[in-house]
Amino acid sequence: MRRFLLHRVLLLLPTLFGAVTLVFILIHVVPGDPVEAMLGETASSADKAALARELGLDQPLLTQYVQFLAGMAKGDLGRSLYNQGSVSGLIAARIPATLELTLAAMAVALLIAFPLGVLAATQRGAAADRFALVFSLFGLAIPNFWLGPLLMIVFSIQLGWLPVSGRGGPAHLLLPALTLGTAMAAILTRMIRSGLIETIHEDYIRTARAKGLDERRVWLKHALRNSLISVVTIVGLQFGALLAGSIVTESIFSWPGLGRLTLQAIQTRDYPLVQGCVLAIAFSYLAVNLATDIVYRLIDPRISYED
């Protein structure tokens, strides 16, 4: 296991390097001039040229790339072109909001998907199963930009129970978490249902039943646990995607997370901030994937990472 972890951590480096390189090229290829955005439209060409020189933007792309990598190796992600703040500081300020929303959305998804998935599998063809199917279809089909305002109108405006938007206490968290978690809950419900139905026909389940175990124990202890591997994979991938920032949900709920920061940075061509955000996003993806691999081992002790 230790060797496996070391191997995976070493693999992080080239992956991060690849992601950052790709974004560096893309952001410099798309049109847009940060110098004019910084100095304003009335700036003289001499001032613009001087600032471009000072920021190193007049250098060949390869030189800029090498300078960027050298800064990154020293842990210096540079300064935002617009508000003079350090890129790492700006990203760090957004991470708690992103983590809060991601964790809550994930919790909502699991709290909905597990009971519903298990119920649908155990009562196959019954009303609960049909309800789970309809929920899954709706959950996947309804876009967040529609679901978010719908929940706001019902729970904030009509019933007056919850705040409309913004980040604050637990009450502020509920609607965005529900909006973000619903689609994931829909996917997980279907996966848990199909995983359980597949597992329940395995020989060891028949053996468990033959030993006289009660049905509840057979389903929850034997079948559910063994059908979890594929669920954990999806949860891991989705968790990484949510950490990367759900731009739509963050925008609808005025949630000050990493997704909105990335979007703003791209729109303003704030090169250092875009690169910093992508690095943070790539890192969180990889970290979650690594955690998923570790969870596999915990769920199924038969999985070994030793040679």
């Binding site: 100095l39 409309v164 000050p256």
Partner: protein, 510 residues
């Protein structure tokens, strides 16, 4: 195991949530204003976007500020003299204090201007201030500005907010002398200001201001409907106004604004370089129909860049009449006859670049339909903002539409239409060249007499209305949606929020 995992995640999320200060917190007696994207930098030396400038103007006083007709109105400077064409002497108001209790003196004014002019500090205001050769304090309350050359638009530079001497440029210590002090600035989330009870021009009537950044237009309106937002100025789609009128007790007021929407054209294009073609396009556009049906009457047809409120506005320029028959006649005269009469073949084809925003695309479709009626085929191309704007600056377009906001001095014409202002040296994106205009704009820049300047820019406006390097479309109206208890909010033509100093809440009825 999984219910435990979910509970663990939920607890962790709630722990984060408990640490976050409630965005719904409204300090008692404070007013909440909804913004779309929010300020990026509140330091007046760096504030360039509209939200940053409007909020900074509430925190920082300046020497003078444009009034409703864009003439400089004294603020920190009680008076000023111009001993000669290149010298300005400002006499400062006494007894003005920064929010930290320090006196505001000439040294602070000199420091602010010098620091904005220092190339090391990369201030975007440097371009507007480059006419300043030196700034010297003379005693505690007199500041002498020496100009590099006679420069009539100097008033534009007087609205720079004054910071205390030694204020760093990293935004870590923002102290002003304005009616509100800065309490909290969370970029992309909110800005909280506290009333300055000892403000020299009268303390604000509300205890503070909360600017809440709400990117989604529907959500801004829902927040208003719930009562968690007191005021929205301009930041909503035209379609939402009728809904608000029906479903809330909103007090809605609107007034003429100065934001100018225009149709830009590439004058180096073999078709668009014909003046008759440009006039034909202008005649083929039914502004009234677009304003009524798409903009829901939130705009008025424009005659040019300067709105009627501006001191240099030329009333003799007549609005362009919607006249498709004349448009067809002009196109025939220019040598572009319709190949098949009313048939499907166009006289010629042009592309129109715009952004991907829904409202812009709807306007583009309306223009396409109207131009098609006179035989001009318009191919609408929507782009992401950065790409669109880069193309416009490079001259990589046939037609595009943009708006000018925050026009203060008519010297803007120099940046837009002087032949020396072709990018990258200015914003003459359509590559318009006219020696007569060049000479007038040079005179307007150095003529210090206001009446003479008005005549010069009157002539400029008449020539541009004839040559049509831009086709004026409309001036946007400013609209404020307010809770019915809010009193004292005034709309300014440029959309500034300076009247928030005077707003108050009516006491509850009964």
């Amino acid at each position: 195991m999984k219910p435990r995992a979910a509970t663990f995640l939920l607890c962790l999320a709630l722990a984060f949530a408990a640490c976050a200060r409630s965005a719904g917190d409204r300090p008692p007696g404070a007013l909440v204003v909804a913004l779309e994207s929010g300020p990026t930098n509140l330091d007046p030396r760096y504030a360039t976007d509209a939200d940053s400038e409007r909020i900074a103007a509430l925190v920082f006083d300046s020497l003078a500020r444009p009034d409703r007709s864009f003439r400089p109105r004294p603020e920190l400077a009680e008076t000023w003299d111009t001993p000669d064409d290149r010298t300005l002497v400002f006499h400062l108001r006494r007894g003005v204090k920064f929010h930290d209790g320090r006196d505001l003196t000439a040294a602070d004014v000199a420091y602010t201007y010098r620091s904005a002019l220092d190339p090391q500090n990369r201030s975007p205001k440097r371009g507007v201030l480059r006419f300043i050769d030196s700034v010297e304090p003379e005693g505690a309350y007199v500041v002498r500005f020496r100009l590099a050359a006679p420069y009539a638009p100097f008033a534009e530079g007087l609205s720079l907010g004054i910071v205390p001497q030694g204020t760093p440029v990293d935004g870590s210590r923002l102290v002003g002398s304005g009616p509100f002090s800065l309490e909290e600035f969370r970029q992309g989330e909110r800005v909280v200001l506290k009333a300055n009870a000892s403000y020299w021009n009268g303390a604000p009537r509300v205890s503070g201001l909360v600017f809440k950044i709400i990117p989604d237009a529907i959500v801004r309106v829902l927040e208003f409907r719930k009562g968690t937002v007191d005021l929205i100025q301009n930041y909503f789609e035209p379609d939402m106004l009728p809904w608000l009128e029906q479903h809330s007790r909103a007090a809605i007021s609107s007034a003429q604004g100065t934001n100018f929407q225009y149709l830009g054209m590439n004058l180096e294009h073999p078709i668009l370089r014909h003046r008759e073609v440009r006039e034909a396009i202008a005649c083929a556009i039914d502004r009234d129909a677009i304003i009524r049906h798409i903009l829901k009457d939130l705009a008025v047809p424009a005659t040019g860049l300067l709105a009627p409120e501006h001191w240099a506005y030329e009333p003799a320029v007549a609005p362009i009449r919607f006249d498709p028959e004349r448009a067809k006649q002009l196109l025939d005269e220019a040598g572009f006859p319709d190949p098949d009469g009313d048939g499907p073949l166009p006289r010629f084809k042009l592309s129109f670049k715009t952004t991907n925003l829904d409202l812009r695309k709807r306007i583009a479709e309306a223009l396409k339909e109207q131009l098609a009626r006179v035989g001009i085929e318009l191919e609408v191309r929507g782009y992401e903002w950065g790409t669109f704007y880069a193309d416009v600056k490079k001259g990589n377009f046939h037609l595009y539409s943009l708006e000018w906001i925050g026009v203060v001095d008519p010297d803007i014409y120099y940046h837009l239409f002087h032949s020396a202002s072709v990018p990258p040296n200015g914003n003459n994106r359509g590559r318009y060249r006219n020696a007569e205009i060049d000479a007038l704009l040079e005179r307007g820049r150095s003529e210090m007499n206001v009446d003479d300047r008005r005549h010069i820019y009157g002539e400029v406006q008449r020539i541009l209305a004839r040559d049509l390097p831009y086709i004026p479309l409309w001036w946007w109206r400013n609209v404020a949606v307010m809770q019915p208890t809010l009193r004292g909010f005034e709309l300014y033509p440029d959309g500034n929020l300076i009247s928030l100093r005077k707003v108050s809440f009516a006491p509850p009825a009964g």
